[in-house]
Subunit: 150 residues, 2 copies
């Protein structure tokens, strides 16, 4: 297989991205791939924010991986800039191919380029395979992630 | 005591903010209140990002509370916008006064005003008092928070 290309998402990628967000035990319950309009609106809002990097991996012209990288300047830790990784998905056909590692390594490299000192993410407590994956990549499970729907 | 005022931080608040970031078991190890220059640079970088809300609580002209609220548009969860709370501190003299609750409730209200559907934060696994505090406010400890220093 050719190496995948990792690039900024464009609007034409949205159907493939949303299909992948939904193709997941948790995503299946909370995404609506049959109605793209909320995603289109969100994509426009993201496009206006230079600290948002909606990213796709493409192989053979097909979107096979996705993640969102957000750059967050801040005061804590001597004025560290941190990045946050969200919405990571690898296409079902590509699982086990190393694409997930490639995507996260891209996000770490891009975080360095953007002047970050820290990369962070949260993973649902039920995603035990993902937890092992992130620990293999050097991440430390040092925090509890709290969420509140409003 | 008068009610505290919650407002956007200004540059003149930085010494008080950094002192509070450092007045904490974890912060003491990673902040440098004697050298404000990295914080000044970070504050300038934050000021250029309309999705960053560095916030202080002020009572009697003194900064007594601090948090950073970041607004993050995204595709996941039907194009939800989420907010992230970071760097929460309440001055030692004010602990137990309800100021922490007031700050977090402000952050939740501001997140609603900014069109968020989700508020999230991570808390170091050692901060067990903080975990109870966030659960009392309705947050769910649904995630594991991973960090990688780069």
């Amino acid at each position: 297989m050719n190496d995948p290309q990792i690039r900024a998402a464009v609007r034409e990628d949205l159907p493939a991205i949303v299909t992948m967000l939904a193709d997941d035990p948790l995503g299946a319950q909370r995404e609506s791939p049959d109605n793209l309009s909320p995603y289109t609106a969100a994509f426009e809002r993201m496009a206006g924010d230079p600290n948002q990097h909606q990213t796709v991996a493409v192989r053979g012209g097909r979107v096979v991986g996705v993640l969102q990288l957000t750059i967050i300047p801040g005061l804590s830790r001597r004025g560290s800039t941190r990045s946050i990784i969200e919405g990571v998905r690898v296409h079902a056909d590509e699982r086990g191919s190393g694409l997930g590692t490639l995507l996260i390594e891209w996000a770490i490299d891009e975080s360095r380029r953007q002047g970050c000192q820290l990369v962070q993410l949260t993973s649902d407590v039920t995603r035990t395979d993902a937890h092992r994956f992130y620990e293999r990549l050097g991440f430390e499970a040092s925090h509890i992630g709290f969420k509140l729907s409003i």
